[in-house]
């Protein structure tokens, strides 16, 4: 299997004026192409923090993340922004959409940054994705007019617009009903099936059944660290 992400002894510690908090104990993991990799554990176990570190939104206190052979600790802020733009897609628990932009404009958001994509090509791709997630008729709607499930599918379409290698999903089904959860998980599974990597932080038991590999953070003994 093709190794895409490798994390070596990464940990994350937050310092406050009262105490040091170990949010993520020392973790090492490997994720290959085609994996639907789950980060599981109860609330507060550090799933989201680990996901943020793997997705370059946060930096580890110790250790390093290697993406396709590139050590991310040696990358500049601009390099990391380019990686997020071109190689990563994000699906958040709360569908972060820009309220004053239409569904289509929200899907096109990542194409405004990074290497230029011709507007016509970007729009064609966005329409294909909206069709894929079943929201082609809502392309001119604004986020306020959509349901929670529809919003998450818009976010999913946005995550795929740059045809990323890795999709990070942080509790994507957390605010969805069973039907919408199932639909979104199927879409994520399709992506993993097509050779992409899906990394998902969740404590949704249904989601766990879709995993090819997983890591549970509740097994770590924080006091020992």
């Amino acid at each position: 299997m093709n190794r895409v992400i490798e994390a070596k002894k990464i940990s994350r510690r937050f310092s406050t004026y009262r105490q040091d908090v170990l949010a993520v104990p020392e973790v090492s993991l490997c994720i290959d192409a085609g994996d639907l990799f789950l980060l599981t554990g109860p609330s507060g176990s550090g799933k989201s923090t680990l996901l943020n570190i793997l997705s370059t939104l946060d930096t580890p206190s110790t250790g390093d993340v290697i993406l396709n052979g590139t050590h991310l600790s040696s990358c500049s802020d601009d390099d990391l922004a380019a990686i997020r733009n071109e190689q990563y897609g994000f699906v958040f628990q709360t569908p972060h959409l820009i309220p004053h932009q239409s569904v289509l404009e929200n899907v096109l958001l990542p194409t405004l940054y990074g290497n230029e994509i011709k507007p016509k090509d970007a729009k064609t791709r966005a329409l294909e994705l909206l069709d894929y997630v079943g929201l082609i008729d809502a392309m001119d709607h604004y986020p306020a007019t959509l349901s929670g499930g529809e919003l998450q599918r818009v976010v999913f379409a946005r995550a795929l617009i740059r045809q990323p290698d890795v999709i990070f999903a942080d509790e994507p089904t957390g605010s969805l009903d069973a039907d919408n959860s199932h639909r979104l998980l199927e879409l994520l599974k399709d992506q993993a099936g097509s050779g992409k990597v899906v990394v998902m932080a969740t404590h949704d038991r249904v989601a766990m059944s879709y995993a090819t590999r997983s890591i549970s953070l509740d097994k770590f003994d924080r006091d020992a660290n």
Binding site: L57, P110, Y113, G114, R162
Partner: protein
């Protein structure tokens, strides 16, 4: 990551849409800058109007001329002149100055009588009568449209000939060769002046004179008429400095004339020397002061407007924290975030400056209409306003833009 025109235009479009969402707040913020630009445009327009007026005035009076008025009409001065045996300006003074300065300064003495009755062919008009020499025409930059000017021979022979202003010629339907009765003297018209209008003397202390309503005759003829009260006393001298290289030549000539007259009049100031160039210098100083004061007001207005923009931008950044986090998550570099928020600030300031220019032009015209001050719109002022507003946008937008770019994407995304 470099920023090119495409990305700037793209961010301008995004910023424009973002500002339209908060329309009322954006309008108020832009208005703050607009008031600054308004003050600037109005100030520069009024200043430019005053500048052009003074330039016209100086051009009318002549930058290379020196005007000397007799001051014997004032009681105190008359007493002093009589005590010192001075009789005010006289024709001998003019002749002395003419000889003393050789050909460097052309001297033209004149008598002037206002509201003299001129009649011809049963028509009557009131005119200002000038008794002078042929050099007076060149010193006053007058040109002849029909006929000829006065000649030295007219002066020597005390010829009853005259040159008339264009308005008098039209009013009395006179032309070259006609005879007009000036007071009680019959005079043959030898020339008609090209229309020139009035001498712009407002605020200079020089007696006003409308060249289109004058009749000019040789001073030797004037002295023989019933219009002359004292044949040796003249009302003034118009001197013109020849071959002027710079302003100092005119001032040097004026000092020379002052010295000669001072000696001849034994220190009695029964004359007054006016150098139009001095008026120009005074006007420049006044204008500089005006520009300084008004510029400070406009600058302060822009400063206050800029601070308003900064305040609004900080509020926008605070409200859009999640959006900024999202943009960073999907690949916006910190530089792109800076560019986006600078575009916000610049758009606000440019919109404000457009309103400011329009309102500034309106206010300037209103001032002209209400107060009567002349205004003129220099292209520089219409360019300077937006340029300063643009600078204010960049300067005052930079801090909020940097605040936005320094946000931690994870923390920003959590700002729900």
């Amino acid at each position: 990551m470099r920023i090119d025109l495409r990305t700037v235009l793209l961010d301008m479009r995004i910023a424009s849409k973002g500002l339209r969402v908060r329309r009322f707040r954006s309008t108020l913020s832009a208005l703050g800058v607009g008031i600054g630009v308004l003050a600037l445009v109005a100030m520069l327009s009024i200043s430019e109007g005053a500048n052009r007026e003074i330039q016209q005035k100086i051009a009318s009076l002549g930058t290379d001329t020196i005007r000397i008025d007799s001051q014997t009409s004032k009681t105190g001065t008359r007493a002093a002149s009589e005590l010192n045996l001075s009789q005010g300006l006289s024709i001998e003074d003019a002749e002395f100055l003419s000889n003393a300065n050789n050909a460097r300064v052309t001297i033209a003495p004149y008598w002037v009588r206002n509201q003299v009755r001129v009649s011809a062919q049963s028509k009557t008009a009131s005119a200002t009568i000038i008794g002078s020499s042929p050099s007076w025409f060149s010193n006053e930059r007058l040109t002849i449209v029909r006929g000829r000017s006065l000649r030295e021979s007219d002066l020597r022979t005390s010829a009853k000939r005259c040159v008339i202003g264009s308005t008098i010629a039209a009013r009395l339907q006179l032309t070259v060769g006609d005879i007009a009765t000036i007071s009680t003297m019959n005079c043959q018209i030898v020339g008609v002046l090209h229309p020139k209008g009035a001498l712009l003397t407002e605020g200079t202390g020089i007696a006003s004179l409308n060249f289109d309503e004058i009749v000019v005759m040789p001073w030797s003829s004037f002295a023989l008429s019933d219009m002359a009260e004292e044949t040796q006393k003249i009302d003034g001298i118009v001197a013109r400095v020849q071959s002027v290289r710079d302003e100092s030549d005119v001032f040097a000539a004026a000092e020379s004339l002052r010295g000669h007259l001072n000696r001849r009049h034994r220190g009695v100031q029964d004359y007054r020397i006016v150098v139009p160039l001095t008026l120009l210098q005074e006007a420049r100083q006044t204008q500089t002061l005006f520009q300084l004061i008004m510029g400070s007001i406009a600058g302060l207005s822009l400063l206050v407007g800029g601070i308003g923009v900064m305040n609004i931008m900080l509020a926008n950044v605070s409200e859009q924290t999640r959006e900024i986090g999202l943009r960073m998550a999907v690949g916006a570099t910190r530089l792109r975030i800076v560019t986006l928020y600078l575009c916000h600030a610049v758009l606000l300031c440019l919109a404000g400056s457009v309103c400011g220019i329009l309102l500034g032009v309106f206010v300037a015209l209103l001032v002209q209409w209400l107060v009567g001050w002349p205004v003129a719109f220099a292209i520089e002022s219409l360019i300077l306003g937006p340029l300063l507003a643009l600078s204010a946008g960049i300067i005052f937008g930079l801090h909020p833009a940097l605040v936005a770019s320094r946000l931690n994407p994870v923390a920003a995304l959590r700002d729900l």
